[in-house]
């Protein structure tokens, strides 16, 4: 018995020694250990791939390695909560997708909002589009309105109360049409549902048509056409205008992260995002780059948040 106790004491001290290694950080030496980037979606999805593409340049700029973790679920809330509650020492960053995060926060009555988090960089601005099957008889917005009047049309969304759902409801009101909302688990099953004919269309980010010839974009829900698919008209051209949600993927840090660290992160991301290795990748995959950093991004997100608050009735 005594032997066991003695060993236990030895262990506790050994453990103490081991843990003492990773203790309080000195700001000026930041970064001295790996930085964790927490993703709201699973490995292999959009924002995750962006970061992985940038990883070599980022790691060189920051001087430390990056660890990508995915905490998907609860509409992005799990990842958000985790980063919000983590140590504001610059080692935990959130890779998020707006308006997904904002919409989730509103529909789930979050006590905090992303307006309070420190903004680092926004990568892209991907507008939504109405996606139909390649062989669908619907070829224009007028066709769509006509179809909804005479048939049981349906829209695939990524979940009731989510961003795609919200954009769809806004559009339905503006166009004065009625259709069923069929919820799926996330964005990719929605595209699949259009492909196999379960639903008539889906309102999602336009990039799903980039590598998939089974679906096509009917119209872009934005003020301007998209460079990657220049032949697709915008819904504004077809005569309708209403609030548009734009998917913006970016990075946030916890609210109390010191400004010097945020600035270092901003600088590193600026270099990585402008590096040809990333811009080429973006061009090849039809990603609409729209780089916004630091305080500009903070202001933009605040504006988007207020805009979405107006639609709280839909949620």
């Amino acid at each position: 018995m005594k032997k066991a106790l003695a060993m236990l004491l030895v262990l506790v001290s050994a453990a103490l020694a081991v843990y003492a290694g990773g203790s309080e950080e000195d700001l000026s030496k930041w970064p001295s250990k790996p930085i964790h980037i927490i993703n709201q979606s699973a490995a292999g999805s959009g924002p995750d791939l962006f970061i992985r593409q940038m990883q070599p340049v980022l790691q060189k700029e920051l001087g430390t390695s990056l660890v990508l973790e995915s905490k998907e679920g609860s509409g992005g809330k799990l990842a958000c909560d985790y980063v919000w509650n983590s140590n504001p020492d610059g080692y935990t960053i959130l890779a998020h997708s707006s308006p997904l995060t904002t919409v989730t926060q509103i529909s789930k009555d979050c006590e905090y909002s992303i307006k309070d988090m420190k903004h680092i960089a926004s990568i892209d601005a991907t507008p939504y589009a109405v996606i139909v099957r390649a062989d669908s008889p619907i070829k224009s917005v007028a066709d769509l309105i006509e179809y909804c009047k005479t048939n049981n049309a349906s829209n695939a969304n990524s979940g009731i109360g989510g961003a795609m759902f919200l954009q769809s409801r806004i559009m339905a009101d503006a166009l004065g049409i009625d259709y069923a909302e069929v919820p799926y688990n996330g964005g990719q099953p929605c595209t699949l549902a259009v492909m196999n004919g379960d639903v008539t269309f889906t309102v999602t980010s336009f990039d799903v048509v980039m590598n998939n010839n089974q679906v096509r974009a009917l119209c872009i829900l934005a003020d301007e056409r998209v460079a990657a698919i220049p032949d697709v008209p915008t819904i504004v051209e077809e005569g309708y205008t209403f609030p548009f949600l734009t998917m913006r993927r970016g990075l946030l840090a916890p609210a109390e992260t010191p400004d010097e660290i945020v600035q270092k992160l901003v600088d590193a991301f600026e270099v990585a995002l402008n590096d040809p290795s990333f811009t080429d990748y973006a061009a090849a995959n039809g990603i609409n780059l729209d780089l916004i950093f630091g305080e500009e991004y903070q202001a933009l997100d605040a504006q988007i948040y207020d805009e979405i608050m107006q639609f709280v009735d839909y949620l």
């Binding site: 262990l11 103490l16 843990y19 003492a20």
Partner: protein, 152 residues
């Protein structure tokens, strides 16, 4: 009906029914979900209750006064269960390394193994190695324990 005890299977049926009832309680009382969200789970819960009732009735009918004991060796089971509970509490408080090493020590002491010192040192080495492999190579950070987080 004297001397008739329920077969153990009936006991478990009651346990399962209770678990399902508690789970459903959240939807009905605490979070008050709308009927749409509850239709399917309540249907499944109803089937559980029905089959549990069938099992309970069967178990009571076939129950006899004498039965094989449930635990082949109740003392061993109790000790093992207590060790597991201790392990998890220790892990929560003191982290992976301390709790795991404590567990191996406990086993060598309680189950009287030969050469306990050698085995424990070997185990400690493996455990610490695992900790570092997971954190440095796989970037999975094993629990550090509330105690150490409070210290630092």
């Amino acid at each position: 009906m004297e001397g008739k005890r329920m077969k153990f299977e009936g006991v478990m049926a009651i346990v399962i029914a209770a678990i399902v009832a508690i789970i459903c309680l959240d939807g009905i009382l605490i979070n008050k979900l709308p009927m749409e969200a509850l239709r399917y789970p309540l249907f499944c819960a109803a089937v559980v209750m029905l089959t549990a009732a069938i099992e309970i009735v069967k178990a009571v009918r076939n129950g006899t006064g004498k039965q094989k004991p449930i635990h082949k060796n109740a003392r061993n089971f109790a000790v093992a269960a207590a060790l597991m509970v201790g392990y998890i509490i220790l892990m929560w408080l003191f982290g992976f390394i301390v709790s795991s090493i404590a567990l191996t020590i406990a086993f060598t002491v309680i189950y009287k193994m030969e050469k306990p010192v050698a085995i424990n040192i070997g185990a400690a080495v493996v455990i610490i190695a695992v900790y570092f492999i997971f954190s440095r190579l796989l970037y999975i950070f094993l629990p550090e324990g509330l105690f150490f987080e409070w210290l630092f």
